[in-house]
Amino acid sequence: MIREVAWRLFASEYNDANLETEGGGERPPSYVVTPLGAKVNRVFVVGVITDVENVGTDGQPMWRARVSDPTGTFHVYAGQYQPEAAAILSKLRPPVFGAVVGKSRIYSPQAGTTYTSIRPEAIKAVDETVRDFWILEACRSLQRRLDAMTEAQKMDPLTKEGLRKIGVKEAIADGIVQAVNHYGKVDLSRYTAMLAEGLRYLLPEYRESAGPGEPAPEVKAPAKEEPSSEPDETETKVLEIIAALDKDGKGAPWEGILETATSKAISKDSLEESINALLDKGLIYEPILGRMKKI
C-alpha cells in the first residue's frame, strides 16, 4: 500500500526494457524492469511533447503523445480511464515542454516484440528549467544504477544480500538481480554514453561545438572526438531553412528543404547529417513523415 516511487529515467533505457514482473500482496503491482535494474511501476518524465494524436475514434478517443528526451521518445497513451490526462492532452498545442507522471506499461503483440509506454496519471505543461532539472535528475539516477550494475557484474554469485553489503539500496538491488537473470551481462558502455549525452545536453559549450558527426546514443565509446566548428554553420543554416519553409505551421516539406539547401551549396549527405543531429538535440522534430519543424 506504500506509494510507488516515480522513477526518473531516460526513454532509451526505458524502451530497452522487455521484462515485466509482479510484486507481492493482495493487489500485486506490476513493474517494468530495465536492463540496468530500474524496477519501474511509476515514472516521472519531463520532455518535449512533440505531437499528440487521437489514435482512437471520435466517440472513444485514445490520445497518443510522443515525449522526447535527449536519448529517445516515450509513448504516452490516455483513454477513457485517464479522463484528466486525456483532456489535457487533447488541448495541448505541441511542441511544448511537458511533465508526465504515470504508470509503466509493456505491450507484447507477439513473442519477441515488446513496446513500452506510459499510462498517464497527470500531465502538465512546464518550462525549460523544469525540463533541465529533470535531465539532471535522470542523469543522477542513471549514474547510481550504472555504478551498482558495474559492481554487480563483478560479483559471482550475484545476490541481493551481496549488493546490500556494498551499500546498494534495497530497491535497486532487487531490480539488478532480476535484470541480470533476464538480460544477462549488458554492455554498460552504451549506458555510459547515454549518461554523457544527457549531461552534455545541459551544457551550452557542447551545444555550440556539436556537429553533424555527433554520434547517436548507440555509439559505444563515451569519449567523443571534438567536432570541427565548420559544420555548425550548416546546422544553423538548415535550421533557418526549416523555419523559413514552415509556412502553414505543419512543418517544412523534405523536398523543399533539399531544394533550398542545394541552392545554398549544402550537399544532400551533409543536409541529412545536420537534420539527424538537430533531431538528436531536440531542436527540430518530425510532426508527420517527410516534414521537419523547429521546436
Binding site: 506504500i2 506509494r3 516515480a6 532539472f133 539532471l136 539500496k169 549518461l195 551544457l203
Partner: protein, 445 residues
C-alpha cells in the same frame, strides 16, 4: 497426536456442514500433516476448500507461542499479555479516517506488535491477559505482526494465566551495548550505545499507569544527525554537554523513532570538544525518502524532491469548528452540518526519485507559496463560485516543481507524512552540477 487434532477434525467437519465423515477428515488431515508436511493451518484450509467449503468458516485456530509466529498465518490462537496498547488514527486509501488499536503483545517466548482493525467488545489495558482466536499475521517492516480482523475473537483471562511480563522496563540488558550513530537509529533497537551532544533538554511531568512521573526530554545530536530523546530517570542532563549513553533503546513516539533510556543506562560525561559545537550539529539533515522509510520517519529533516501531485483536500477548505476536521459537502463526519471555518492547506505528494511522502503545508506556508492571503482566496472562490480556482492556482505553481521542504516526518501503515515547517522552491544550477558529473565521468573513463 490424535487427541490434539480432534478439535480441528471436528472444526473441519462442522465447516463442511457434516457432509464428510470425521474418519475421512482425520485420514486426510493426517496425510497433509505427515506425508505432505504442510502447516496445520494450511492443511485445514486446503481440506475445506477441496470439499467445496469456505475456509473462512473455520473457527478453531492453531495455538501458537509468539516466538513461533511467521508472517502469512491466516488463523492463529494466542494466549498473551498486553504489554502496551494505544489508539491511533488511520486513513485507508479511499476510505474515511478511523480509529484503530495498536500495541505490543507478549508471552514468555517473545513480544510482537499487534493491530486491531475492528472495534473490540472490551477495553484493552496494559497488563491484561487475553485469549485471542482467529487472528492473522503479516509482515510489517521485516517483522511479524499480529492482526485482529472481523473474524477474530478476543476474551480476557485471569491475570495468573500467564507469568507477569518483564520486558523493556526493569530487566537488565545482557551483553555489551552496540555503538550506533544517530543516523542509524532504528525503531526497536535496544541496548545501544550513543555518543552525542545534548542540544536541549526539559523536564516534563507525564502520567505512567496512573502515577505522575518526571521525564527529561529534548534533542541530542552527533555528526550524522539529531534525534529527540526521553530519559526516564534524572541524570541531571544539561544542554551542550557531550555524553556516552550506554544501554539505551529506540522507540517510536507519534510516528518518529526516538532514543529512550532509563535506570538501566550508564551515562559517561565526555570532553566537550569531542563533537562539533551545538550550532553546527543543530542543522536539519538532508535525507533521502527511502532512508526515512527504512528508519520509520525522522525529526526535523530536509528533503528535496518534486511535488508530483496535489492530493484531494488541497487549497481552500472548511473545517468543523468542533473538531477541526475538514468538511465534505458542508458536513463534518462526526458533527454533521456545521458552519465551517475557512482554512488553507496543501497536501501534496513529494517524490525524490528514491521514495514518496505526503507533505502537508499549513495556512501560513500555503499563503506564502500562493503569495495570497486566505481572505483573497475566499474572494477569488466566491467570484468563481467554486473553491477549485484556489486548488488550480496551487497546482499551477507547485506541480512538477523541485522543492526543498523541512519538517518532522512520521510513519504509519500508509507511508510517510511530513508536517512541513518551512519550504522553498528550489533553484538549481543545473549547468554546474552537470559539468561536475561529466568531469567525473570522463575522468574515470
Amino acid at each position: 497426536m490424535r487427541e490434539e487434532l480432534a478439535p480441528h477434525v471436528h472444526d473441519i467437519t462442522r465447516a463442511l456442514g457434516n457432509k464428510v465423515s470425521e474418519q475421512e477428515i482425520e485420514r486426510e488431515l493426517s496425510s497433509y500433516l505427515n506425508v505432505y508436511r504442510v502447516s496445520l493451518d494450511t492443511a485445514k484450509r486446503s481440506i475445506v476448500k477441496k470439499h467445496g467449503g469456505n475456509p473462512a468458516t473455520l473457527a478453531v485456530g492453531v495455538s501458537k507461542a509468539l516466538a513461533d509466529l511467521v508472517p502469512g498465518d491466516q488463523s492463529v490462537n494466542l494466549l498473551v499479555r498486553v504489554v502496551a496498547v494505544y489508539e491511533k488514527e488511520v486513513t485507508p486509501q479511499g476510505q474515511e479516517t478511523k480509529k484503530i488499536l495498536s500495541g505490543i503483545l507478549g508471552d514468555p517466548t517473545a513480544t510482537v506488535g499487534f493491530t486491531a482493525w475492528e472495534p473490540l467488545p472490551m477495553v484493552l489495558a496494559k497488563g491484561d491477559v487475553v485469549r485471542v482466536q482467529n487472528a492473522y499475521t503479516k509482515e510489517y517492516r521485516g517483522q511479524v505482526q499480529v492482526n485482529f480482523g472481523n473474524r477474530t475473537s478476543v476474551a480476557k483471562e485471569a491475570s495468573t494465566a500467564l507469568p507477569e511480563y518483564k520486558g523493556a522496563a526493569g530487566q537488565p540488558y545482557m551483553g555489551k551495548p552496540t555503538p550506533v550513530r544517530v543516523v542509524d537509529l532504528r525503531e526497536g533497537a535496544s541496548n545501544i550505545s550513543v555518543t552525542a551532544r545534548i542540544l536541549s533538554v526539559e523536564r516534563r511531568e507525564v502520567e505512567v499507569d496512573g502515577a505522575p512521573k518526571a521525564v527529561f526530554s529534548g534533542v541530542l545530536a552527533d555528526e550524522t544527525g539529531k534525534t529527540q530523546f526521553s530519559a526516564w530517570k534524572d541524570f541531571d542532563l544539561k544542554a551542550e554537554e557531550v555524553l556516552r549513553i550506554e544501554g539505551a533503546y529506540v522507540k517510536s513516539w507519534r510516528g518518529i523513532p526516538q532514543i529512550s533510556f532509563d535506570e538501566r543506562a550508564t551515562i559517561t560525561r565526555l570532553k566537550a570538544d569531542l563533537l562539533p559545537p551545538a550550532q553546527q550539529l543543530n542543522i536539519s539533515p538532508r535525507m533521502w525518502i527511502e532512508d526515512l522509510a527504512e528508519r520509520g520517519g525522522g525529526a526535523d529533516v530536509t528533503v528535496r524532491g518534486i511535488l508530483i501531485d496535489l492530493r484531494e483536500g488541497s487549497g481552500l477548505v472548511y473545517r468543523c469548528p468542533e473538531c477541526r476536521r475538514v468538511l465534505r459537502k458542508g458536513a463534518c463526519r462526526l458533527h454533521g452540518e456545521v458552519k465551517g471555518e475557512p482554512d488553507l492547506r496543501v497536501k501534496a505528494v513529494l517524490d525524490d526519485g528514491s521514495g514518496a511522502l505526503t507533505a502537508v503545508f499549513d495556512r501560513e506556508l500555503t499563503e506564502a507559496l500562493l503569495d495570497k492571503s486566505l481572505e483573497a482566496c475566499i474572494a477569488a472562490a466566491k467570484e468563481a463560485m467554486s473553491t477549485d480556482v484556489v486548488r488550480d492556482e496551487l497546482a499551477d505553481i507547485l506541480v512538477a516543481q523541485p522543492i526543498e521542504a523541512r519538517g518532522n516526518v512520521t510513519s504509519d501503515d500508509y507511508g510517510l507524512m511530513m508536517i512541513v515547517e518551512s519550504a522553498k522552491l528550489l533553484k538549481v544550477d543545473v549547468q554546474t552540477e552537470a559539468r561536475e558529473m561529466l568531469e567525473g565521468l570522463e575522468g574515470s573513463a
